[in-house]
């Protein structure tokens, strides 16, 4: 019997239809995965179930009783807890305050019992201590946390309300593999206790790992529901995109020119040590390795967004001092971050403004001729297959994938010669990724040089001509040609961090070791690489597994 049933749910935002008659049913004690490309309406459906968005039409029933939520507090009263993709945390408040926001333990006279609050939060954190990493306790302000820690806190916040129906909207997007394993373990115990979980993810292997059933959404409607052991990756992907999307194979690559577009010598910064590299014209240079080893830092230094301490950078043979984004732009360098909310879109401004802002800044135009600019950006909109209602609509109305396209389009309009991509496909659906890869291909053919960091190792290996493996701010290995395999990437990342990793490996609990057996393509992390390396056979099996998934998902 379904605990929750949504039928014929419709919702429009301005002129954009987010939901066009979505049906969804959730059984007691099941994990139900909800998949689909970005903009297909998953998040909107979840927000309607969570009470923070009101549906235009349709019916929502809980245990066969129709309900209407006038706000999130109504949903919370029905024991529905939502993990919000954009997080519902208050950056300037502490971890403890955030976890128990609105549910603080109270003592005398109904006042907040601070010691009890601290204790309860510490206890909540203790449950995930092994995977939380350093620099987080009950009194840490959320603003000081890394992205994965922020997600973990949001998870703890959802759990603290002890909901019976839990919606996890991309709750694992920024998590490393051990963290995912720990969360899954918890989800399984909640399931055993009779809770029902709606689980949204872009990672196929997670669907098959955790979900009992899976529902696919496309263009605002639910197109397929199946038991997860009765379906395949291919079937899901096909349902998602309507056709089988395939990523470009490595063989299709053209050869980059010998000409050096960007040369870096002895670059050091707060997080980089003596980095030297050459980026050829028309080349895609991948930056790989463990999470956060200086890859993003390098891209941001080259764009002038982080300070370079020493070193020398040359662009097309001419000396270039990355003093700031403006000077980088004048040298035809563009930087695109996957963290669009933070570094990318100006959410409430129109799509048009978001598309032309870099162009205006680069050419120092003071007077804006709208017609002329629209003409200039039209081909870019075409190339990127950008879907929108009107150029005047706020960019926040677009789905995540389309927002990212806007950010990319903004920089393409400046005709960059060097493109710095900082995890550009984070949280983006397969279709958008495929479009993006094709665009990158075209750019390379036109002689644009691209430096790419991706948290998706498989993507990195598939589209980069060469991969530089980073560790602790240094380049430790270069992988070219046939070396570009997950196996080599793991080995290079592991070898370099050997001493630091052994400690991490010894901290592993047996439960986590089991957790990390799952095949998959997640972010590699120091801890994981550590545990992997204790068993060389596992590395081998990993290679095969990821090859398999590679074919299936891309």
């Amino acid at each position: 019997m379904p605990v929750l049933e949504a039928s014929g749910i419709r919702k429009r935002f301005g002129g954009v239809t987010a939901l066009a008659g979505a049906d969804f049913s959730l059984h007691a004690g099941e994990v139900h995965a909800l998949v689909g490309s970005n903009g297909c309406g998953k998040s909107t459906l979840c927000k309607i179930i969570g009470g923070s968005v009101a549906a235009d039409a349709g019916e929502l029933t809980l245990n066969d009783k129709p309900v209407t939520f006038s706000g999130p507090q109504d949903a919370a009263a029905e024991h529905i807890g939502v993990f919000y993709q954009d997080l519902s945390l208050i950056p300037k408040m502490t971890v403890a305050e955030n976890i128990f926001l609105g549910r603080e333990p109270t003592g005398r006279a109904g006042l907040v019992d601070q010691p009890a609050l601290h204790q309860a939060a510490s206890a909540a954190l203790a449950g995930f201590r092994e995977v939380l990493g350093d620099g987080i306790d009950a009194d840490t302000t959320v603003a000081a946390l890394s992205a994965d820690q922020g997600q973990m806190v949001e998870i703890l916040k959802v759990l603290a309300a002890q909901p019976r129906i839990i919606i996890l909207d991309e709750a694992t997007a920024a998590l490393d593999r051990n963290q995912v394993a720990a969360v899954f373990e918890h989800v399984r115990s909640l399931k055993a206790a009779g809770c029902s979980i709606i689980f949204i993810t872009h990672r196929m292997d997670e669907v098959f790992d955790i979900a009992d059933r899976v529902t696919v959404m496309r263009n605002g409607a639910t197109v397929m529901t199946a038991d997860s052991d009765q379906t395949t990756r291919e079937a899901l992907v096909e349902a998602m995109v309507g056709e089988l999307a395939t990523a470009r194979g490595k063989s299709a690559r053209h050869t980059p020119a010998a000409e050096v577009a960007l040369q870096v010598d002895g670059l050091s910064s707060d997080k980089l040590v003596d980095v030297s590299l050459q980026l050829k014209r028309g080349e895609i240079l991948g930056l790989g390795g463990l999470h956060g080893q200086g890859q993003s830092e390098l891209l941001r230094v080259l764009f002038g967004a982080r300070r370079m301490r020493s070193g020398h950078v040359r662009i097309a043979g001419k000396s270039f001092d990355p003093r700031g984004p403006r000077s980088a732009m004048r040298h035809a360098v563009a930087y695109i971050s996957g963290d669009r909310a933070r570094y990318g879109v100006m959410a409430i401004r129109p799509i048009f403004e978001n598309l032309v802002v870099s162009l205006l800044a680069r050419e120092r135009r003071q007077i804006i001729a709208r017609r002329k600019l629209e003409g200039e950006i039209a081909p870019i909109i075409e190339t990127l297959k950008l879907k929108f209602d009107s150029l005047g609509a706020a960019v926040s109305q677009l789905s995540g994938g389309n927002q990212q396209k806007v950010v990319i389009g903004r920089w393409l309009a400046t005709r960059p010669q060097v493109l710095l991509l900082d995890d550009p496909t984070k949280g983006i659906d397969i279709q958008t990724k495929v479009d993006l890869y094709a665009t990158l291909d075209d750019l390379c053919a036109q002689g644009v040089s691209i430096m790419l960091y991706s948290s998706d190792d498989e993507e990195l290996l598939a589209i980069a001509d060469r991969v530089l493996v980073f560790n602790a701010g240094r380049i430790v290995t270069e992988l070219t040609g046939e070396q570009r395999t997950q196996f080599e990437l793991y080995r290079a990342a592991y070898d370099a961090g050997h001493t630091g990793l052994q400690q991490a490996a010894s901290k592993q609990t047996p439960a986590q070791q089991t957790g990390s057996h799952q095949p998959g393509t997640q972010q590699i992390d120091a801890k994981e690489a550590g545990s992997k390396a204790t068993d060389s056979e596992k590395i081998g099996s990993k290679k095969i597994d990821s090859k398999k998934t590679g074919e299936a998902t891309e």
Binding site: K92, M93, L101, G102, G135, T141, S146, H291, G292, G500
Partner: protein
């Protein structure tokens, strides 16, 4: 763990002192100004002088306390000075027209507080329920309140019975009345600071979307902050009745922006969430001390505004620079 070492903004943690003790800078400036003031004015540290200073700074401090709650929710209340005026003239008018009896005084004071709360509720309704921009809305309601004050009492004047200003300037149970009022405000703040409401208030100021999604009653919380602000503006209006013993429809107008300055001096961020009442009280005292210092330094009149502005800027910049240095 290598990966943990590389985790992103660890620096945010060292913003600790400004996060937890946002009024440290204000305390430092306060001490410096006390020293300077004491050097310029021999009698500064005498008990009676200290009490009279507290009495003089009290209305501003009360306004700043109320304003703090509004600013913590990332709103702003530009009508507080006008509420001071309307409460001031309403109380004086009620008491005088009822003959200055004990009952009239009780009624007048109660009516004054109620009036302040009502004004705050009107602001809160417009901002939180109708969702109008707080800065423009409270500027507008402020003009209405000020106009109402002029309608009640077009010219400064009228008298309240001596018992009011004698009590205000005197002592209750051996402790000066102004100290009682200040202590009451601090006790109120200490109480509110431990409520769930206060957490919700800061959350609303920190990220209103997240606060809403968490299920907090965001509109009620913002409304509450404006009501508190109105209540404290009314208290300030009553304090001015005690201080001046008469009504003046223009008395509060010039207090609004200085009271906001006091809140900011005290380390409360205009962007919301961070700060606290203790800092705002210090901030109000700092503004008062700056006036004192300028007076006792015997600066020529035409220089006073300039010097006062520069000192305020210096104190504000000090806080910002200190916070930045910490985050390095």
């Amino acid at each position: 763990m290598k990966s943990a070492d590389m985790r992103q903004p660890v620096s945010g943690r060292s913003g600790w002192s400004r996060q937890r003790h946002p009024y440290l800078m204000a305390a430092l400036v306060f001490v410096v100004l006390c020293v300077v003031n004491a050097a310029l004015q021999q009698t500064f540290l005498r008990y009676e002088v200290a009490i009279s200073n507290v009495a003089a700074f009290l209305p501003m401090a009360l306004l700043a306390v109320g304003q703090t709650y509004v600013i913590l929710a990332a709103d702003i209340d530009l009508s507080t000075g006008a509420i001071v005026s309307v409460v001031n003239v309403a109380v004086v008018t009620i008491i005088e027209s009822m003959g200055g009896t004990g009952a009239s005084m009780a009624l007048g004071l109660a009516a004054g507080l109620l009036l302040g709360i009502t004004c705050g509720a009107i602001n809160g309704f417009c901002v939180a329920v109708l969702r109008l921009q707080p800065i423009v809305t409270t500027f507008g309601t402020g003009i209405v309140f000020a106009g109402f004050a002029l309608w009640i009492l077009p010219q400064a004047g009228r008298q309240v019975p001596p018992v009011i200003y004698l009590t205000y300037a005197g002592t209750v149970l051996g402790v000066p009345s102004v100290i009682w009022i200040l202590a009451g405000a601090i006790a109120f703040a200490a109480f509110v600071g431990r409520t769930r409401f206060y957490k919700a208030l800061r959350a609303t100021g920190g990220n209103i979307q997240a606060a809403y999604q968490t299920g907090l009653p965001v509109a009620r919380v913002r409304m509450g902050a404006f009501v508190i602000s109105g209540f404290f503006a009314a208290l300030a209006g009553l304090a001015l009745v005690g201080e001046t013993a008469s009504g003046d429809p223009l008395i509060g107008g010039a207090l609004t922006l200085p009271s906001i300055t006091a809140v900011v001096l005290g380390g409360t961020a205009l962007s919301g969430c961070v700060g606290g009442v203790a800092g705002s009280i210090l901030g109000a005292f700092i503004l008062g001390l700056i006036s004192n210092v300028i007076f006792f330094a015997q600066l020529p009149f035409e220089w006073q505004g300039l010097v006062q502005g520069l000192i305020i800027l210096l104190a504000l910049a000090g806080g910002v620079v200190m916070a930045r240095g910490k985050q390095g």
